[in-house]
C-alpha cells in the first residue's frame, strides 16, 4: 500500500477511521473526476479550453472552482473541530486524538487563508479587473496561467498530505518554532505545510506583480489614476502588499526548511537560533496578508453599494486615501500579534496605537458606504444583503479588534477564543461576505446567465445568522478564560453548552453553503431561461458592464476612451449606443502548457524534498530548466483575430453598448 510506504509516524487507532474517510474522499473524488472526463471524452476539451488557457476570465473561473473545493475541505475540518470541542469534556475524550485535532485546525487555517480566501480574491480579480480598466488582458497572460497553476499545485500538495503519510503539521497555521522544528515535529506534516504554502505563495507573488503592472500600464485611454474604480484601487493596494510581503513569507519558509532539512539553526533553541525572529518575520508577512484579503473586499463593496443605491460613490477621494493609509499602516502593526512576547512598554504602546490608527480610515470607509446609500434608491438585491451583514458583523468584530489592540487588554484576551471569534468575524464577515457579494454581482457578466436572487438572499441570511450563532459563544468563552486550540476541557468550567451552540452556528453556515451550491446548480441547469442578453443586468456604472455577458475573448472590440469615474453610467445617460466604428484586428496570446508543467515540476520537487528523495528532486529541477528552454524556442505565442471575425462576433450583439 502506498499509504504504509509513505507512513512516517504511526497513526493512533482512534483516528484511523477519520483519516481513512478523508483519504477515501480525496482519492475517490480525484478518481471520479478522472473517470468522468475520460468517459465523456472531455479530457481534450478541458486541456484545450481551460487548463492551458491564458484568458484571464477562464483563469478566474478556475481559481473559483479550486477555492470552492477547498472551502468544502476547510468546512469538513470545521465540523470535526466543532464536534470534538462539543463532546470532549471531562471523562469523554471526543472522537479524535489531540494530535489529530491539532493537525485538523492547522489544516483548517492554512486551507481557508491560502486556498479559499486567496483563491477567491485572485479569482474575482482575474475575472473583473481587466474588464474594469478597459483592457483586453492582464499585462503578462502566461505568468497569470503559471500563477494559477502554482496555486493549484499548492492545493494539490496539501491534499496529498492526507494520502501520502496521512499527516499534516500539528502546530497551528503559522507553525511557530521551536514546536515546528525537527526536535518537536519530526514527521512530514510540517514539511507538507511549508511546501504547499511555499508553492502557492510564489504563485501569489507572481500574480501580485502581474496585476500591479496591469493596472499601471493597461488602463484604457483617459482613465487617470483618480478615475479608476475603487475596486481597481483596492486591488492595486492589495497587490502592492503582496509584492512587498510575500517575499518575507518565502524567505521565512526557506529558513525553516533549511532548519528542518540540512540542520541549520535559524530558529532552533540550540545552536544560537532564535524563534522570536521567526515570529516577527511570519507576522511581518501575516499582517499585510490580512489586508491583502480585506482590501479587495472593500473595493467590491464600493462597487456594489454605488450600483445598487443608484448613486455615485460618496467620497471617492477619501476612499482612495483611506485605502492608501490602510496599505501603509498595515506594515507597521505586525507586533500586535504578540504583545505577550514581552517587548517593552514603548514598543508595545507604539504598535498598539498604530493598530488603532487603522480604525480611522476603516471607520471612514464604513461611513462613506452608508452615505452612498443615503438619498439613494436602494435595490436590496443579494449583494446588498451580504453588504448589510458585513456592516453589522464587521462593526462588532472591529470593536473587538480595537480592544485587542490595547496591549494590556490583549494580555487578557490573547490566544483566547475571543481572539478566534474576532478574526473569524473579520475574515468571514469582512472578506468572505465581500467575495460572495462580488460573485453574486459579477456572475452574470462572467457566465452570461443570472443566479436565482431568492436563493442568493436565503444563503446570505443563513451565513449571517450562522456567523453570529457560531462566534458569539466564542466571544463569551474567551471572556470565561477559554484559550484557543483546546481539544479537551473540564466539565466544571461550564463551557460545553456554548460550544454546542457554536456547533449549531456551523450547521446554519453549512445550510447556507448548501443553498449556495444549489443556487449554482440550478443556475447552470436553467441557464437558457436566465440569460443576460443586455450585458448590464444591474444598471451598472463601470466599464465591465459595457461588454456582452459573457465578454468576448478579446473583452472590448474597440478599447473605450474614459472621461468619467462611472464611465459606463455616463455613456448610458448620454444616450447609449455609440456609432459603430471600423474594427481592427486584435492580437491575442496562444494557449500554453508552460504553467501546467512548471507547477507540475514544482510539485514534484516539493514532494521529493518532503520525502528526502534526491533523484526526483534533480529530475524536477532539470524539468523546470527544460520547460523554460522549450518555451523560449516557441515562436508562435500569439495569434491574430482578423477584423472580419470581430465584426461577425460584434454584429451578433444586437443592441449592445459601447
Amino acid at each position: 500500500m502506498i499509504i504504509s510506504l509513505f507512513s512516517s509516524t504511526s497513526v493512533p487507532s482512534t483516528d484511523r477511521l477519520v483519516l481513512f474517510f478523508g483519504q477515501a474522499m480525496v482519492v475517490g473524488a480525484a478518481l471520479l473526476i478522472a473517470l468522468a472526463l475520460v468517459y465523456f471524452k472531455k479530457v481534450g476539451w478541458l486541456w484545450k479550453n481551460w487548463l492551458t488557457s491564458l484568458d484571464h476570465k477562464k483563469i478566474g473561473i478556475m481559481y473559483l472552482v479550486v477555492a470552492g473545493v477547498m472551502l468544502l475541505r476547510g468546512l469538513a475540518d470545521t465540523v470535526l473541530l466543532r464536534f470534538q470541542q462539543a463532546t470532549s469534556v471531562g471523562a469523554s475524550q471526543g472522537i479524535i486524538s489531540s494530535n489529530h485535532y491539532q493537525q485538523i485546525f492547522t489544516a483548517h487555517g492554512t486551507m481557508m487563508i491560502f486556498f479559499v480566501a486567496m483563491g477567491l480574491v485572485f479569482g474575482i480579480i482575474n475575472l473583473i479587473l481587466p474588464l474594469q480598466i478597459g483592457s483586453r488582458d492582464v499585462a503578462f497572460p502566461l505568468l497569470n496561467n503559471l500563477s494559477f497553476w502554482m496555486y493549484a499545485a499548492g492545493a494539490i500538495l496539501i491534499n496529498l498530505s492526507l494520502v501520502f503519510g496521512g499527516e499534516f503539521a500539528a502546530t497551528g497555521w503559522l507553525a511557530y518554532p521551536p514546536l515546528s522544528e525537527l526536535q518537536f515535529s519530526p514527521g512530514v506534516g510540517v514539511d507538507y505545510w511549508i511546501w504547499s504554502i511555499q508553492i502557492a505563495g510564489i504563485g501569489t507573488l507572481l500574480s501580485g506583480i502581474n496585476f500591479i503592472t496591469t493596472i499601471l500600464t493597461k488602463r484604457a485611454p483617459g482613465m487617470s489614476m483618480m478615475k479608476m474604480p475603487v475596486f481597481v484601487w483596492s486591488v492595486l493596494a492589495a497587490m502592492t502588499l503582496v509584492a512587498a510581503a510575500f517575499p518575507i513569507l518565502t524567505v521565512t519558509l526557506v529558513l525553516l526548511t533549511l532548519d528542518r532539512t540540512i540542520g541549520t539553526h535559524f530558529f532552533t533553541t540550540a545552536g544560537g537560533g532564535n524563534a522570536m525572529m521567526y515570529v516577527n518575520l511570519i507576522w511581518a508577512w501575516g499582517h499585510p496578508e490580512v489586508y491583502i484579503l480585506i482590501l479587495p473586499a472593500f473595493g467590491i463593496y464600493s462597487e456594489i453599494v454605488a450600483t445598487f443605491s443608484r448613486k455615485r460613490l460618496f467620497g471617492y477621494t477619501s476612499m482612495v486615501y483611506a485605502i492608501l493609509a490602510i496599505t501603509g499602516l498595515s506594515f507597521v502593526v505586525w507586533l500586535h500579534h504578540f504583545f505577550t512576547m514581552g517587548a517593552g512598554a514603548n514598543v508595545n504602546a507604539f504598535f498598539g496605537i498604530m493598530t488603532m490608527v487603522i480604525a480611522i480610515p476603516t471607520g471612514l470607509k464604513v461611513f462613506n458606504w452608508l452615505f452612498t446609500m443615503y438619498r439613494g434608491r436602494i435595490n436590496f438585491a443579494s449583494p446588498m444583503i451580504w453588504f448589510i451583514g458585513f456592516v453589522i458583523t464587521f462593526s462588532i468584530g472591529g470593536a473587538a479588534g480595537v480592544m485587542l489592540g490595547v496591549p494590556p487588554i490583549d494580555f487578557q484576551l490573547h490566544n483566547t477564543l475571543f481572539l478566534v471569534a474576532h478574526f473569524h468575524t473579520m475574515i468571514i464577515g469582512g472578506a468572505l461576505f465581500g467575495y460572495f457579494a462580488g460573485i453574486a454581482y459579477w456572475f452574470p457578466k462572467v457566465f452570461g446567465f443570472k443566479l436565482d436572487e431568492k436563493l442568493g438572499k436565503i444563503a446570505a441570511y443563513l451565513w449571517i445568522a450562522g456567523l453570529i450563532c457560531a462566534f458569539t459563544p466564542l466571544y463569551i468563552l474567551g471572556l470565561m478564560g477559554a484559550t484557543r486550540r483546546l481539544d479537551h476541557y473540564d466539565a466544571s468550567l461550564g463551557w460545553q453548552g456554548l460550544f454546542i451552540v457554536a456547533g449549531v452556528g456551523v450547521v446554519i453556515i453549512l445550510a447556507g453553503v448548501a443553498v449556495q451550491f444549489m443556487m449554482f446548480y440550478l443556475a447552470i441547469k436553467n441557464r437558457k431561461k436566465n440569460l443576460d442578453t443586455t450585458g448590464d443586468p444591474w444598471n451598472g456604472r463601470t466599464l465591465e458592464w459595457s461588454t456582452t455577458s459573457p465578454a468576448p475573448v478579446y473583452n472590448f472590440a474597440i478599447i473605450p476612451t474614459v472621461s468619467d469615474r462611472d464611465e459606463f453610467f455616463r455613456r448610458k445617460q448620454l444616450g447609449g449606443i455609440l456609432p459603430r466604428r471600423k474594427y481592427a484586428a486584435i492580437v491575442m496570446p496562444n494557449n500554453s502548457s508552460f504553467g501546467f508543467f512548471m507547477a507540475g515540476w514544482a510539485l514534484m520537487f516539493a514532494f521529493s524534498v518532503i520525502w528526502h528523495y534526491p533523484p526526483t528532486m534533480i529530475v524536477a529541477l532539470l524539468g523546470v530548466i527544460g520547460t523554460f528552454i522549450v518555451r523560449t524556442f516557441d515562436d508562435t505565442t500569439t495569434h491574430i483575430i482578423p477584423a472580419a471575425e470581430i465584426e461577425a462576433i460584434e454584429n451578433k450583439r444586437a443592441g449592445a453598448l459601447v
Partner: protein, 313 residues
C-alpha cells in the same frame, strides 16, 4: 390555497431581532452559573485591565451605535420602493466627509493617549510597589506541565501554585521546550514562556481563593492539559504551607531535571521538597554557546537573555 405571507423588510427585521433576543436568552441561561475569568478579577492587575477593557468597549459603542442607527434608518427610508423624494444620484458633501474623518480620529486619539499611559502602567515587566515582601516564583513550561520553583524557599511545585494574598508575586518565566504562555486570568494578563529566554510577569492577588491558570499557547499534543490551580491564601497560611513543603521527600536537581522534562500529559500536581540552587538559571542558559563563569554567571546570563533588555529598542 393558503394565503401567501408578504415578506416586508420590517417583518424580516422584527423576525431577526426576536431570533437574536431568543439567542441571547439561551446564551444567558447557559452561562449564568459559571465564572467569567476575565471579568472576575481577584487582583489589582486584572482589575486595571478589566477597567481598561470596559473603557475601550464603551468608546467603541460611541461609533457602533450611530453606525447601526444610520444603517437601519437608511435601509428603511431609501429603499427603492419608497420612491424617496430626496433621491440625489450625484450627492456629495465634503463637510460630512471631513466629519467622518474627524469622529474616528477623535476617538482614536483619546484611546491612544490612554493606551500609551496604560501600557506603561500595566507593563508586565514592571515590579509592583507594595510594603509587603515580594514572593519570587520561577515558572518553567515543560512538555506538558508547569514547574514552579520558589527560589526563596528551596521548594518547587508541578501544576499547582500557592501564593500569599497582598504580596506582589514576581514571576520569571522560561520554557524547557516549545513556546507556551503563562496566564492566570483572574490575576492578570499573560506572558510567553520561551526556551533560552527569561520573561517576567508581576501579579498580585487581593483576595483568597482558587484561580485557574493555563498555558495559552499551543506547545504540542499534551497542551490542553497544561492547566493548574492557583491557591491564594493569607500570609500565615502561606508561610505554614511553605515550611511544611520542605519536608516533602522528592528532590529536584540539575541531574534529575531531564526526568521531569520527559514528555507527560495531564500530570497530577506534586511537590519537590528540595530544589537545587540555580536550577532556573541552568534551564535558561542551557542553550548558551559558551560556558559561564559559575561565580558571576547568573547576572551575565540574565542580562543577556532577559527580554527587558529590549526595552531600549
Amino acid at each position: 390555497m393558503a394565503k401567501r405571507i408578504k415578506i416586508t423588510p420590517s417583518k424580516i427585521f422584527i423576525l431577526a431581532l426576536s431570533l437574536f433576543l431568543l439567542f441571547c436568552f439561551i446564551l444567558f441561561l447557559l452561562v449564568r452559573h459559571h465564572t467569567f475569568a476575565v471579568l472576575s478579577p481577584a487582583g489589582q492587575i486584572a482589575q486595571s485591565e478589566l477597567n481598561l477593557m470596559k473603557f475601550a468597549a464603551l468608546l467603541s459603542l460611541i461609533v457602533i451605535i450611530p453606525v447601526f442607527g444610520i444603517l437601519f434608518y437608511i435601509i428603511f427610508t431609501f429603499r427603492e420602493s419608497k420612491k424617496s423624494k430626496k433621491y440625489a444620484p450625484e450627492y456629495s458633501n465634503v463637510l460630512l466627509e471631513l466629519v467622518w474623518w474627524a469622529i474616528p480620529l477623535g476617538i482614536i486619539t483619546i484611546l491612544s493617549i490612554v493606551t500609551w499611559n496604560q501600557t506603561h502602567q500595566l507593563d508586565p515587566f514592571k515590579s509592583l510597589s507594595s510594603n509587603q515582601t515580594h514572593v519570587r516564583i520561577q515558572a518553567v513550561a515543560m512538555n506538558w506541565k508547569w514547574l514552579f520553583i520558589y527560589p526563596d524557599y528551596g521548594i518547587a511545585t508541578v501544576n499547582e501554585l500557592t501564593i500569599p494574598t497582598d504580596h506582589p508575586i514576581d514571576f520569571s518565566i522560561t520554557s524547557e521546550g516549545p513556546m507556551n504562555s503563562l496566564w492566570i486570568p483572574q490575576l492578570g494578563g499573560q506572558i510567553y514562556a520561551m526556551a533560552g529566554m527569561n520573561t517576567e510577569l508581576h501579579l498580585i492577588a487581593s483576595k483568597t481563593g482558587i484561580y485557574r491558570g493555563v498555558s495559552a499557547n499551543i506547545s504540542g499534543s499534551g497542551f490542553a492539559g497544561m492547566h493548574f490551580n492557583v491557591s491564594a491564601v493569607n500570609t500565615q497560611t502561606f508561610s505554614r504551607w511553605a515550611s511544611s513543603m520542605t519536608s516533602q521527600p522528592q528532590t529536584l536537581t540539575k541531574g534529575t531535571l531531564h526526568q521531569l522534562a520527559e514528555p507527560s500529559e495531564n500530570v497530577e500536581p506534586f511537590v519537590f521538597g528540595t530544589v537545587e540552587n540555580g536550577l532556573y538559571d541552568t534551564i535558561v542558559n542551557q542553550y548558551m554557546p559558551f560556558q559561564l563563569d559559575p561565580d558571576n554567571g547568573k547576572t551575565n546570563a540574565m542580562s543577556m537573555h532577559s527580554m527587558s533588555s529590549m526595552e531600549g529598542m
